[in-house]
Amino acid sequence: MSTQVPSSLVTQPDAHSDKESPRWLGPLVLLGPSGLWLGLLLVIPTLLIFELSLVPGIRPGDIVNPSGLDNYGLIFQPVYFRVIGRSLFFAFGTTFFALLLGFPVAYWIALIAPKQWRNLLLLSFVLPLWTSSLLRSYAWITILRPTGVLNSFLQLIGIPPLDLLNRSPAVLIGMSYSMLPYIVLVLYASLEKLDRRLLEAAADLGANPLQVFWKVTIPQSLPGIVAGALLVFITSLGDFVDPELLGGASSMTLARLIYNQFIGATQNWGFGSALSMILIFLVSLAIALLIKYGDRSQVV
């Protein structure tokens, strides 16, 4: 530490000690290590991927084609376009079901359940998040497979078996299940702040419960709904495990397609990089919408 006192510091209100270190030392020590780490292992790699996405034929042996946007052009081939469409479909579907299932739960915990139980109820709802997500998705195989738990149960009550596994419904069930705790957390935070007097006032003024819900509760909690929906959308857009385990061969998503370009028999790093940039772009688009329309403090 320097013993010299920079003259500029003496007038600073926070310059207490005679042994004040130079101005830049504090920020450097506090922000330097993480900045370096993020720069090296996040910023540079992402820029590198962007560069790769513009240079087709990066793998040895491939034909070098200097034309820049070829990799992006590839996504318009029907087979790849369908993959992106499927990813978006799963993400939208998951968002819809997570909202549909999560809102009543969050509403019940935040507004109806006894106050002293609220924290415990919320905690116990999100507790499964602490177990391996891979294993929770894997459990759904046991439940949904043709001879699984669900069909055994349906057989018992005389309903014909459902063929869900390795098809879209299983993916949607698995992804909605994975996302449900997150959306309940976000919606709870928003509903909990809801001014209950508004609900009572609306009821006193003659609104029926349904009107109170649509005219007061929903508009009041809209920022939370938007934030939660986008959080779910973003996370499920890049989901790899659920489509992979529950969707079977016909449910390839963007994450799996990117995976295949880097690991496996038919590698194409340039195309994979372009797909990765598209995924980042879609996610950024959702974030931009969130910042514009949502309550930003609700995220993370």
């Binding site: 993480s34 780490w37 292992l41 590198l48 991927i49 790769l52 915990i109 006894p114 195989i141 690991i263």
Partner: protein
């Protein structure tokens, strides 16, 4: 207000019933894993008798135990590094204003937003470009990126509620900046650091994609080992493993809650 609550307590609302159903939905997979880990038949969905054999098989499975050891090692080191530099970052961002701070802050949150697969492939490409050999060290380096973000977020949320005069007071009383940081600020932040670390630890233990892309052959983490087995179907010894992991994470959760409540009680007691 009280009137309203009493009315709700008397009648069981449909929201309560629906929520109960959703609690069942949340716990169904865990229950299924647990029940089937004791089922004798490896394939049948029907109960064919109680057995410990899957647990015995699991505890004798060297590959899984090695993968578990690798995962614990990676998560432990990554979290330890993140605890230090993530806390420093949170304090630095709370304390200083500088040009480019907004950019710095946004970049530090990126790992929470960018999908794992994108982070995974960029890190792979970067490491390959530098000719860095892939092993456990490269997984640690990649895991620190997101662990650090989670530690920093939790610590930041605690810093916001902290009395900024505490450190000034310490320095007025003659403590050096380093002393006031270690003796005054750090104890105040400790509960947040611990919960941030637990969160990061869980996420590091749970990560499949980033580890798959940044580890060399022969260095499997637990999720990689599990994934390579279950993609081909149901494996009962994996059920046994799940139950062990559920118990471990349940215990660590209870521990985390205990630390948090203790800290809260201490704070309110003051």
């Amino acid at each position: 207000m009280e009137n309203l609550q009493r009315k709700f307590k008397l009648s069981i609302s449909w929201q309560a019933l629906f929520s109960l159903l959703m609690y069942g939905f949340m716990y169904l997979p865990l229950v299924v894993l647990t029940v089937y880990s004791f089922n004798r038949s490896p394939f049948s969905a029907k109960w064919t008798g109680f057995t410990w054999s899957w647990y015995i098989k699991f505890f004798q499975d060297g590959r899984i135990l090695l993968a578990l050891q690798n995962s614990l090692l990676v998560a432990g080191i990554a979290v330890a590094i993140s605890a230090v530099i993530g806390t420093l970052m949170a304090v630095g961002l709370a304390r200083y204003n500088f040009p480019g701070k907004q950019l710095y802050q946004s970049i530090s949150y990126l790992p929470l937003i960018i999908p794992d697969i994108s982070i995974a492939v960029s890190t792979l490409v970067f490491l390959q470009a530098l000719w860095i050999g892939l092993d456990l060290k490269t997984i640690v380096a990649a895991h620190v990126v997101f662990c650090l973000a989670y530690v920093a977020i939790v610590v930041s949320s605690r810093l916001v509620n902290l009395d900024p005069h505490l450190e000034e007071a310490a320095q007025d009383l003659g403590a050096s900046p380093v002393q006031s940081f270690i003796l005054v600020l750090l104890p105040e932040l400790m509960p947040a650091i611990v919960s941030g670390c637990l969160l990061a630890f869980i996420l590091s233990m749970d990560d499949l994609l980033i580890a798959s892309f940044t580890s060399g052959s022969g260095y499997n983490t637990l999720p990689m080992e599990i994934f390579s087995r279950i993609r081909t179907g149901v494996k009962p010894d994996i059920n046994a493993l799940s139950v062990v992991l559920i118990l471990v994470s349940g215990l660590s959760f209870a521990l985390a809650e205990y630390v948090r409540l203790n800290a809260e009680r201490k704070r309110s007691g003051q």
